[in-house]
Amino acid sequence: MTRTLLALCFLTAVSRAQKIFEQPLSPRIANYSIQAELLPAEKAVRGFWVLDWWNATRDTVRELQFHLYLNAFKNDRSTYMRETRGEHRGSRSQEGKDDRGYVDVQSLELADGTGLKDRIEFISPDDGNPDDRTVIRVPLPDPLPPGSSIRLSCRFFSKLPRVSARTGFTDDDFFMIGQWYPKIGVWKDGQWNCHQFHGLSEFFADFGVYALALTVPSGYTVAANGVLQSKDEADSSVTYRYRQEDVIDAVWCAARNVQTSAQQVMIDRSGRRIDVSYLWAPGREVMREHYEKFVPWVINYFDSLVGEYPYPNLTIVDVPEGEEFTAGGMEYPTLITTGSYLGPARLQELIGFHYPEIVTFHEFAHNYFQAMVASNEFEEPWLDEGFTTFLEHKALERYFRGRADGEYADLGGLGFTSLDYHRSSYVTHPRDGTIVGASWVVPRGFFQTALYSKPVLVLGTLENMLGEETMRTVLRTYVERWKFRHPTTADFVQVAEKVSGRDLGHFFRQFLYENKTIDLEVVRIDNEREGDPAGWFGESERMEWQQTESDSADTSAGRYVCNVSVRNRGDGVLEVPLVVRFADGDSATAHYDGSESFKVYRFHAASPVVYAALDPARTNLLDLSFTNNARLKEPENGGIWRMTLRLLFWMQNVFAWLAALA
């Protein structure tokens, strides 16, 4: 009873916090008030939450299920560790006693003080791994009828792992505290959707209000995904109170020796203001000026492309050097972690690598896809990573438009563009799996292609089919219709078809649910002079002899039969134009959809075909090879000389460097 009273006192305190939105943006199913204290010496967080969960369905709920994500790092028997063998994004989880992480539920009670801890049962709904401790079920004493809500309180102790898979501590007193508290699953379609923590999966949660009271020792700076309400300093500690509404998660970061800065970004379209806070790991504040250029741009760009970013704030954490792939590159609602990589912006510009832009555009795009349009990252991870990467790709193309060095990197004068990057990922794995599928069944080597690169090509091809404006409307409608809800792939397909007014089922089936491929090729061009008719013509008395007068190269109208042979080396079908150009400057267009693996197009023209190209505008980004899409009747070598001379120049320089060593 005492604990319940304490909980109520705590709730009263946090409920005084100022509201952010006048009207709720989301259904607010899972609402947490969390009190947490960072224990730097123990590399842990001691926490307590009060959860108000609302049964917004027509089902009677008889048990609750919670994620205990940190238990993925508890030992080498967890499903996460078994699937990853302890390696995530090229970084290995450490195996020492202090390097492991876990979350221990110390108490779980109903509002009336009824203890539930004894009812807790660990389950493994995905793989039956009896050693996995990342999901629990808690049978309720009384069923929860439709439309009712339940209040629970929980004390927990979260031992953080050495930073890995976006959560944990570093030796430099930097704590990235994500997936750190017992988190309720999602009741969906009459059952709990509460998956285990897998090697390559992310998360799925309901929207709610989060009130955080985060206590850290004096000297620590805190950043969290909420609006800072107050900061209370005691003798040796400071308590930061944050509130965020209509989000799916709470995350925070505490660190010493870091710098912070703030920037106000005005949304051009609406005149709204967004407060952007930056937390710079030691040495990273040199990037401030650089970020302050592209962050306002990307916020405005996404606002115009897919819709309003409704939150009043955004926090960007530039993680410590060396932790770009462990703590950096992660998305949370209104808080993203980035990494400057390779030091100052000028150095990156010198070598032409745009990592800060790439990672920031990507993670901020997640604030739309998954943070607002909250698809199930366990079951359909492409829905957030794919859309996010597509947005990142479009932003990179737009931001670096007109620059010779591409968007990803400048390799000795050759721009390596975002499209190059994603195509090179796809064309090397075109048949390894499908885009749509649960995260834990995607082949490990195909993950990048399936969830990031191929979706960019599918959505890019769709954009080329529908037109940029229609695609923009599709995206905006999808976001508008499904924000603060949980859409599936079918929901997106439905929106795309409705907005475009086209049947896109075949397109999506081939490239989302199946791994059909397309590789169009112009095989040959044959021009045959169609001479004057020669021989006997007519019947009986009307029969006449005609003879060709000369073999001169007459190019009068209708004197050539031109055969253009094309083929599709894949098994997918997508209609593209076949454009042929004639020697006299004329051109003609036909259409080829690849359903016939080989086809000959015949043109009667005044002059021979000198050039034929399938999809000359390269609208089908899924074509496995662009190089064979077009063919010239006669060879041209000017471009080859230019390219090979450039190669010669590079080789001479490489050998010159080698010579300096000899």
Binding site: N629, G638, Q652
Partner: protein, 273 residues
């Protein structure tokens, strides 16, 4: 003589010894030519009827090369094999040419035969030692590269270490010639000590030469960016080769200045005593 004066004189000598510059440039060109030929053959066979030849005429795209490597993996293997063989040959040639050039520069006042004979004499005499030194130098560079595992901060360690290793390598070459020594490895380690004690002027000299090289590269980049898509192919090639020639001149100039700044070989011994 001040370092700046040494630097200026070394440029003057490099221009005078244009034959060495030409040898250096043509050696690199000859080593790279087989790769050029291979690339040209492969590209003609793969692309001459394709749209890409027109794309490459006006700009440069990586996509066709990536597709070529994916669709014809043997091409990548052939290039890698060819590159490896040429790199080894280039390495052997560079050791010989460095020895020949340094010998000629050091003893140029001794009129003891025609240019080619002297070049080949010194090349033959010192190439073996320079190769042993080069192997040591490669080990030092590999060690420097290992610091990259420390992350981006390791880069701050690796880059200066590699630059210093290259300078020390040159100092060692000079010492080997001055002392007519045979122990390349031992001299290499002694040269580190020499550099740290007395190498301030030399580092400054290398800094000046590096600045000249960067300036030349900047000029080339400007010309390349402005012209490459529009200029006639021969003009583009001429601009490229002018830069490579300039680069060769920088190398000869560095060797000449190096000999002037490290003209007291016993100093290396004395540093240890």
């Amino acid at each position: 003589m001040s370092t700046l004066r040494v630097w200026a004189v070394s440029w003057k000598n490099a221009v005078r010894q244009y034959r060495l510059v030409l040898i250096w440039w043509s050696g690199g060109l000859l080593v790279a030519l087989p790769l050029f030929w291979l690339a040209h053959r492969v590209f003609v066979r793969s692309f001459s009827y394709k749209q890409v030849v027109r794309d490459w005429d006006t700009g440069f795209q990586l996509t066709p090369l990536l597709e070529l490597l994916v669709n014809q993996p043997m091409v990548g293997t052939a290039f890698a094999g060819c590159f490896t063989v040429l790199a080894v040959l280039g390495w052997l040639w560079a050791a010989f040419a460095t020895a020949g050039a340094m010998g000629f520069l050091k003893y140029r006042t001794e009129k003891s035969g025609p240019f080619v004979a002297r070049f080949f004499t010194y090349g033959g005499k010192y190439a073996g030692r320079f190769l042993r030194l080069s192997a040591t130098l490669l080990c030092a560079i590999a060690l420097s590269l290992s610091f990259l595992c420390l992350g981006p901060s390791g880069l701050a360690l690796t880059v200066p270490l590699i630059i210093l290793s290259i300078i020390v390598g040159d100092v060692t070459r000079s010492a080997l010639m001055n002392e007519d020594g045979r122990s390349a490895v031992r001299t290499f380690f002694r040269s580190w000590i020499w550099l740290f004690r007395r190498g301030g002027r030399l580092v400054f000299f290398y800094g000046l030469s590096a600045a000249a090289l960067i300036g030349g590269l900047g000029l080339y980049k400007v010309l390349d960016t402005e012209w490459s898509a529009r200029a006639p192919i021969l003009l583009m090639a001429a601009v490229q080769q002018m830069f490579v020639l300039f680069r060769a001149a920088v190398r000869i100039q560095i060797l000449d200045g190096l000999l002037a700044l490290t003209a007291q070989p016993p100093s290396l011994e004395r540093e240890l005593s």
